[in-house]
């Protein structure tokens, strides 16, 4: 596997003498349907002042965290990634809400002293050195806790002035709160804070953490359509003109389950697209062509493109 952005001494920007590098786990969807989530994140990181270094030979996270007590095989993929990442550092950054959820919970189980027997079994099976405990972080955690909103605000070159955005977290970003430890499970705030930092107006709404329909889109698309429409309708009633999310599946259900071209539909961004826009990535790097509801007219109307 390639390292996405190799650091060469002497190439570092002068105002950033030390550039933090984070081991990065993209996950499969970010190489296929959610390319803009991944691409904007990597490029925006460079602008903000840190670097994502993709870990070599990552495998599927498993997509859904296996909660059955005795079936350790269901968690082995996620835990293999953590063990491999441990060779590179003590932090592993993810972007996709599902990967983040699975990896964080798998890691918590791996490091839980109460599961020492299972841990040994897993490590014996993997037969790879587990160098150190790895903290699984979401990209938003890096922005909020490591960079800080104030420092990020200084990197904004194109404030999202006047853009009213509803932040949609879905079910996987913040739950179970005891393990993810990220934000309020019922009324999360971190993306709203991000939108405000980027100069936009977070509207807040009631369905931040309700289900978008999830994988029902595969076998009962009608049910998924009802669920995602409910989210969007509530966002609209709060005056939102766009929705922002972290999850490729949420983005798909909210964005692509609707009849394209219908008037009044809200564009659904990945948060990295808005971040990239605000820190000055050029338009053709932002991947708006992959959005089913074209966000360009809205952004032009707000003078952002």
């Amino acid at each position: 596997m390639t390292t996405a952005v190799a650091a060469k001494p002497g190439e570092q920007a002068e105002d950033n003498p030390v550039v933090e590098t984070y081991t990065y786990y993209p996950g499969c969807t970010l190489y296929t349907k959610a390319k803009s989530l991944d691409r904007c994140a990597r490029l925006a990181a460079e602008k903000v002042g840190f670097r994502l270094e993709e870990m070599p030979s990552w495998v599927c996270c498993g997509a859904i965290y296996n909660t059955s007590e005795d079936d350790f095989a269901g968690r082995i993929g996620a835990q293999r990634n953590i063990v491999r990442a441990s060779a590179l550092g003590d932090r592993l950054v993810t972007l996709c809400a599902a990967c983040h959820n699975v990896l964080k919970r798998a890691q918590a189980r791996l490091n839980d002293p109460a599961n020492a027997v299972e841990r040994q079994r897993v490590l014996d099976f993997l037969d790879e050195p587990y160098e150190r405990e790895v903290r699984v972080l979401h990209y938003l955690e890096v922005l909020k806790n490591d960079i800080g909103w104030e420092a990020l605000a200084r990197k904004v070159v194109k404030p999202l002035a006047g853009l009213k955005v509803a932040s949609y977290y879905g079910c996987l970003m913040v739950r179970p709160a005891a393990v993810l430890g990220f934000d309020d499970p019922e009324n999360p705030q971190v993306m709203d804070e991000l939108v405000r930092t980027l100069g936009g107006e977070p509207t807040g709404f009631d369905f931040k953490a309700e289900c978008c329909g999830g994988y029902l889109v595969v076998n009962r698309p009608e049910a998924a359509r009802v669920a995602s429409a409910r989210v969007l309708d509530n966002a609209k009633s709060w005056g939102a003109e766009a929705v922002v999310t972290t999850c490729p599946l949420c983005q798909y259900n909210l964005d692509k389950l609707r009849k394209p071209g219908k008037a009044g539909e809200l564009p659904v961004f990945y948060f990295t697209q808005l971040l990239g826009l605000a820190v000055g990535l050029p338009k053709d790097e932002l991947g708006f062509d992959s959005n089913a509801v074209d966000p360009v007219p809205l952004l032009e109307k707000r003078g952002l493109l």
Binding site: D184, P185, E186, N187, G204, D206, E210, N234, S237
Partner: protein, 682 residues
Amino acid sequence: MTDDRRPERAAEGQMPGELRPDGGVAPGTRLGAARHAPRVGVFVCHCGINIGGVVRVPELVERVRAIPGIAVATDYQYCCSDPGQQIIRDAIKEHSLDRVVVACCSPTLHETTFRRASADAGLNQYLCEIANIREQCAWVTPDRDEATDKAESIVRMAIARAVNDAPLEPVGVDVNKRALVIGAGIAGIQSALDIANAGYEVVLVEKEPSIGGHMAQLSETFPTLDCSQCILTPRTVEAGRHPNIRLYSYSEVAEVSGYVGNFKVRIRQKPRYVDFDACTGCGLCMEKCPGRSESSFERGLTKQKAIYRLLPQAVPNRPVINADVCIYLQKGKCGVCAKICPTQAIRYDDKEKFVEEEVGAIVMATGYELIDHVKMGNYGIGRVPDVIDGLAFERLLSASGPTQGEVKRPSDGKTPKKVVFVQCAGSRDQEHGMPYCSKICCMYTAKQAILYKHRVHDGEAYVCYIDVRTPGKGFEEFYKRATDEGITYIRGKVSKIFRRGDKTVVWTADTLAGRKVELEADLVVLASAVIANPEGVKLARQLKLQVDQHGFQTEAHPKLRPVETLTGGFFLAGCGQGPKDIPETVAQASAAAAKVLAMFGQKRLFHAPTTASVDEDVCVGCGNCEKTCAYGAVQVDPKRRVAVVNVALCEGCGACAVACPSGAMSHNNFSKKGTYEMVDRA
């Protein structure tokens, strides 16, 4: 200097008193003790079948009798009865006993009884010890042989302790017969009035500009529907002008030092910016003031002026200025209130002041708050405008509230035609709120639904509940009345509340019908969980009073000492101790006052002498004890560099004796030597 090292292990079956005939003195005590081998009497109680049904009492008595040096050992069905106590008194005289061991229930129950009986017969009461063979043996040891062996060990230990006991005299302190009451809600007012009416002075401290607490916010009270203001204001007026009550409104307790009977209290008076004596309370200033702030008294339903009073019947009827929003204090311009005031009572240069008061007893009446909105993100409160809490709805119903008693919703001022009341919003909810039941919400929700129907005749009222709990006089009948008046009760836990257009949608379940329910309401009222007032929690922690995991102040005994605390001189009243309704609050407040008065009825207070004591010859003044002491009872004398125990403050916990590296600190009648001997005899 007393030899306090571990003694040689006693030979099997040897009487402890024989080992060290001079060993009766607890280190540090200067009272002298028996110089001959103590004569011990042991009295074993059957406690009916409580002890007698498990421990073989006659066999136990035989075994105890075989211990050398026991002057008398006998048993009786109920030692605590009059004839039982008489047996002990007679034995003390007949056998010239100088130590008594009663093997019975826990010392928390009858230690006083038996010590008093011993004292009646002329024995120093601290030479009587209890061997707890009920709670610590008979009740927890089903096997009769094991229980009998264990009881023997416990009795042997008590004998070892008794022979090491020294005669002690209770510590007497004078009582300052003034009381401090912290918090002037209905609890504090009731306590203060009861104490003041008995002829003692009361210092009443309230953090708000006027007294009355949450009760002043309520419209009507359940289950009688009488007007809250109408029954409260006679009390606030009486408290405000009572010659024995010194009221400090807009003030807080900053510091308390001293001990039971003799506390020194430092009170912080917040700047009012209004001269209390010059102001007549005419209210002109409030009419003209252009500054605005959120009103916590009106639960955010309306703005209040920068110079404000909480309600028209405020006691004291003096406004204060909120410096955060006063245009003059912020920007140096405006000054309208000063210009308009007919008595020139405005003082922009007012500063906070501190006053000292001396009192003998303190009543904690710090009250409650409702749970923070942030903890209930799924209920939309604080975000969805037409979701309000129970206190806000009280303000909507109240004639002195922002709508003069007309029910109007906050978003657009329309009269809501469909109101959903949500019970257990944060109560009985370990995930989002508090695990306990807030006790008052079932009744006040029924009351609010009834009152809503009285104001809006064509309105629909729904109550979402998990259980309706009505344990109180007239409560079940009141709930019945609510259902009879057409209020619909739906049994299920509400999962989510959100906005749809100008409606507020409630998602819940009807668990009796087994289906999901969606209610589209005009207004949603949450019966938010009652929590201990956070400022009260902070104060209780600062005063080192015990609080439970939720911040409620802990009573000395949950059943038998419900208004006392484990710290001498502190008493509890009202919701600071746990959620309760008005009658219960008033009852507890009067009980706390009665306890204060019982204290004031004594000439001197007596404190158990089983405190810490210092051997000053050994103490090096390191100060470990001072750091360890939770009661501030030990201090190192800066001149002599030795620790000094304030016996009036000392609760006898023994922590300092453990912390002392040189062995200078010990505990009266709990010496190391006695303890080692107890272990050896066990």
